[in-house]
């Protein structure tokens, strides 16, 4: 039924039909919530792996885990956090917010969207089935050849990693095509490209990075699969192959990937700062252009991950210069964010705290990043804890702080309840302190020579004190996340219902009820400005007066046609998982799974082929 908040659970129906409605949903808001919940689950899984590693390293000669187990822990921690926590958390916001911010009723391909989620879920499942199989991936998150060859990894561990990543890549690619089309083709009338909110712009750049970067790792993984399953020698020097090929293909994907992880957070911060400074984003077009520049440069700097390979002075210099150049658009953005705060009427709410934390921590991480851009300096720092400190400052201090800013900012829109401010600020301060106590000492550890990925160390190397400090910090971060969970439980139980526009927002998503009805907008909005809702409320301050809100339209919402639910996305993803996991079991399972996948694909494609009207009149959705 197309009633208000009908996409939310708990409307007097049985548990079975609630679960059924979630697994067959094609509503972008529900798919977004599924992504978000999964991302949080895996964020906690990856966090527990990190805590075990920190406990092991708290004292010299630690005996909590073996060397093999430690290799598995850092591999799964990295893979989980990158592919199963930060990326799906961003995807949750893409799904939920992009259609609302551009004034659309859904994404361009709703069933493909559901399929993206279920394929993602299959990939995550496959990766974690390795724990049950007792062959956990242990080759590091970038799985360098020829550590991943049969000779050095004879068990199925690398197979789980390789196939899991391949499946996750398919999910990301499908979501990428979907959002490119959604953003280009589903904008409300009047929303020109330059009037798009900054979060939509940064997401737009991310989708291009996804569809252009993932094919490279797809090829790298296909070659690895041939090496492991069919005895080819793509990465084997003995057969004339070159392990460097893996490094190049991986990092052509891997460097855009780090911008895939950070740009959504930058977009969120660019929404939060204007809202809580109560003034437009300073130099918004320049922020957009620098986002695009980051996207372009992101494809030209991959070899700075490989300075220690010895590529020669020309390649080293070229990639060094390109890497230093990419700091320019990033610096421009930081300037613009600070310029937005300048002279604003700042309201210190929790989302703003996290955004300010993002700016400070991301700047620190960016500075150590520029240090690695110089090959002679990088040769000193590479594979040391200095690098670990750097990328945690950009991925945790950057992405995670930015994403939490988005969580606090959009929570009332998504769930209709305002998160508690006092607990939110406690969460922020604990996380900020814990984060710096954990990762700042890693700079020192790296500079006094501690290599990454060692499972233990001798007591007389001078690393004892800072390692203990870092472990204490990790537990402060864990405590901060418990505070967040407590906040969620408390808010869900007894939080006050959120109004449609709790923050005095600027963009279209705040014009509709919280949580939004299934059809989002009863009347298609007409857009006149980048901060359209703000201009509508207050004018633009340069002569354009506030618009009189149009009288509430009496729209018969039951006549709005939304796509009906479908169970083919989850069945197709299940058949696909069956086929892929067959590679580890038997060729017959691959063949059977292949036929099942083809069958589900055909049914998926032809589901509404004969139907022209799929609204409630045609017995559509309930």
């Amino acid at each position: 039924m197309a009633t208000h908040a009908a996409f939310m659970p708990g409307t007097k129906v049985s548990a079975g039909s609630v679960i059924w409605s979630w697994i067959t949903t094609v509503d972008h808001k529900r798919v977004g919530i599924l992504y978000g919940v999964s991302a949080f689950f895996f964020f906690f899984v990856g966090g527990i792996e990190a805590l075990i590693m920190r406990l092991q390293l708290a004292h010299p000669d630690g005996t909590l885990v073996t060397a093999q187990r430690f290799n598995e822990l850092f591999t799964m921690h990295g893979t989980t956090m990158v592919f199963l926590a930060i990326m799906p958390m961003s995807a949750a916001f893409f799904n939920f917010m992009i259609p609302l911010m551009i004034g659309a009723r859904d994404v361009a391909f709703p069933r493909l969207n559901a399929l993206s989620y279920w394929i993602f879920f299959s990939g995550a499942l496959l990766l974690h089935l390795s724990f049950l199989a007792g062959a956990v991936p242990d080759g590091g998150w970038f799985g360098y050849a020829n550590l991943t060859s049969h000779q050095f990894s004879p068990t199925h561990s690398i197979d789980f990693w390789m196939l899991g990543l391949q499946v996750l890549g398919i999910s990301s690619l499908m979501a990428g095509f979907n959002f490119i089309v959604t953003i280009i083709n589903m904008r409300a009338p009047g929303m020109t490209l330059m009037r798009m909110p900054l979060f939509v712009w940064m997401s737009f750049v991310v989708q291009f990075l996804v569809v252009l970067a993932f094919p490279a790792i797809t090829v790298a993984l296909i070659l690895l699969m041939f090496d492991r399953f069919f005895g080819t020698l793509f990465y084997a020097p003995a057969g004339g192959g070159d392990p460097l090929l893996w490094q190049h293909l991986f990092w052509i994907f891997g460097h855009p990937e780090v911008y895939i992880l950070i740009l959504p957070a930058m977009g969120i911060v660019s929404e939060v700062l204007p809202t809580f400074s109560r003034k437009p984003l300073f130099g918004a077009p320049v922020v957009i252009y620098s986002g695009i520049m980051i996207g372009f440069f992101g494809f030209g700097v991959w070899s700075h991950h490989m300075f220690s390979v010895g590529m020669g002075p020309v390649a080293d210099s070229a990639f060094s210069i390109a890497t230093m150049l990419i700091a320019v658009p990033t610096g421009v953005k930081i300037l613009n964010w600070i310029g937005t705060l300048w002279g604003g009427r700042i309201q210190f709410r929790t989302p703003l705290y996290f955004s300010l934390g993002f700016i400070a921590m991301f700047t620190l991480g960016g500075l150590s990043g520029v240090m690695h851009a110089s090959p002679p300096v990088d040769l000193q720092q590479t594979d040391s804890y200095f690098i670990v400190a750097h990328f945690h400052y950009v991925l945790f201090g950057g992405s995670i702080f930015g994403l939490f800013s988005g969580v606090y900012y959009w929570w009332p829109k998504i769930f209709g309840k305002l998160l508690d401010e006092r607990l939110g600020k406690l969460h922020f301060w604990l996380m900020m302190i814990g984060f710096n106590v954990t990762f700042f000492p890693m700079h020192f550890l790296g500079l006094i020579g501690m290599p990454r990925r060692i499972y233990t160390y001798a007591p007389d190397l001078g690393w004892n004190f800072w390692n203990l400090v870092a472990t204490i910090g990790a537990f402060i971060i864990a405590l901060s996340l418990l505070v967040f969970l407590g906040n969620v439980v408390k808010t869900t139980r007894s939080g006050a219902p959120a109004p449609a526009d709790p923050w005095d927002g600027r963009t279209l998503e705040w014009t509709i009820p919280s949580p939004p009805p299934v059809y989002n907008f009863a009347v298609e909005p007409l857009v006149h400005d980048r901060d359209d809702f703000w201009v509508q409320k207050y004018g633009d301050g340069h002569g354009i007066p506030p618009r009189k809100p149009s009288p509430p339209a009496h729209v018969d919402t039951s006549s709005i046609h939304m796509p009906p639910p479908s169970y083919w996305p989850i069945l197709l993803a299940g058949a696909f998982l069956f086929m892929v996991s067959g590679a580890l079991v038997s060729i017959y399972q691959v063949v059977l799974g292949g036929f099942l996948t083809l069958f589900c694909m055909a049914r998926f494609m032809l589901e509404y082929h004969h139907q022209t009207d799929v609204g409630p009149a045609a017995g559509g959705y309930h």
Binding site: A188, P215, G239, H561
Partner: protein, 58 residues
């Protein structure tokens, strides 16, 4: 609004740019495929003539 416009507005596959979602999605997919085959061709060029036991270039 002409009849043509009305037909456009009614077709759920036509977006605000007037282009078909499916066509645009297919173009995005083809762009992505350029990188896929680019990587394969790049691998071929990097390895051309370097195989130890395969046929060499003539």
């Amino acid at each position: 609004m002409t009849a043509e416009h009305a037909a456009l507005a009614h077709n759920p596959n036509i977006g605000t740019t007037g282009l078909d979602h499916r066509k645009m999605g297919m173009w995005a997919f083809l762009g992505s495929e350029c990188m896929f085959f680019g990587s394969l061709i790049g691998t071929y060029l990097a390895y051309k003539g370097k195989s130890i036991n395969g046929p060499g270039p003539h």
